[in-house]
Amino acid sequence: MPSEFKGSLLKNAIEWLLTKCSSRIEPVRSVCQQLVSNLAVWAIEGIISHLVAQRLCINILWNDQAHFCIDHVIFISILREKFYKIKDNKLADAATPTINFQFFSFKLLTYLLLIFFRSHWITKGCGSYFEE
């Protein structure tokens, strides 16, 4: 499970998502509505009928009891994937997932730079040792 979506962030993710379903920006609104509709169906697909699933699961989600309904990992993965897709398409006007994404990217970049310089230093160091 991605760390940024652990624990209470699940609730934040749903909060963020629902505020977008009446957004002034049409593409954001459209993606949000499609995502919520899909989530409601996917969540308990195959257990009960399509219509009942939609009604039941969306009520559960809005009552903040999502963990009784669906598998967290699948749900969060879908949310995460969709948020990042929205962000990549420059449609998102929300802060939370974007900040998480930027923070994640920044950390990744820092790690990559550290690894690069460290290995460069070791190689150079070893090289100079062998040259001697």
């Binding site: 609730k11 749903i14 909060e15 963020w16 629902l18 505020t19 379903c21 009446s22 957004s23 002034r24 920006i25 049409e26 609104r29 509505q33 509709s37 409601a40 219509l51 939609q54 009604r55 969306i58 809005w62 009552n63 903040d64």
Partner: protein, 284 residues
Amino acid sequence: MAAILKSKNSDTYLKICEGTDNHALKEIQLQPNEDIPSVWLNTLLGSLDCFVWLLNDKFVSAMTLFSVDYTPVIFKAVRFFCDTTLARLDTMDTDEYPNLTIREAEQLEALKCQVVISILRFLNKLLEAEFEGLDSAFLHPRMAALVKPMWGKCLWKMLSLLTLEPATLAFSLRNRLLREQMLKQLRTCLQLLPQKLPVSEKSKLLAAFNQSLAEHANDTAYFQNISSASMQDEVKAGTIDYADGFLILRETQLCQQLDEVKFFSFLTKLCIMYNLSAELAPWS
């Protein structure tokens, strides 16, 4: 929004669609000659789309959605849009948007057209709703009282204009895509309205259509302008508008309930106009 999620009341749904805080759909006041701001139009459009989505995907029934103490803003907002748009038609100058560039004016017109289409969609979803064995939710006193701010002369006048004179509300033949979307929703709306409306409102709706038919049948402007070559295109467009309107009316039950004399006068005029521009053959 956290409060919204914890709430188990059905106003949760209303708040999701009408927004909260800075993004909320609010009633606004306009200065004389001031047009509706595009930000407000976009907010209204977002709310209407959201309501249609909730009802369309059956997440919630219309009766549950509006059966709360929290008063919905959406009905008043729709009324405000209709009132302002029609008032603007009466006072419109030659330069419709003096402070806007041509491109900005076109974008604003397109936005208003989208709002009109969304209002029709919203209206259709409400008309399809049933409640406690009644075939129309509007026959239930609580629902009828809630929707009352939206019903009125302006809404019925707007529907009659959309049927007989869509170009006045920017649904011209050049705007083909938006025009077709609007006509599709309007057709459904006019089929449902005579069946689902309470008797008092139905008589007001019929009165608005009868008045429009009489106005168009007595309008001699088309015949005076036909001699002018520059007006030919406008006359042809008007003929197509009337023909489309006639076809829509004929498909619905509304046609049978309209004033026969007025409808016949309108039809006679339409036949004369059709002969004048026979090459168009709009209903051939």
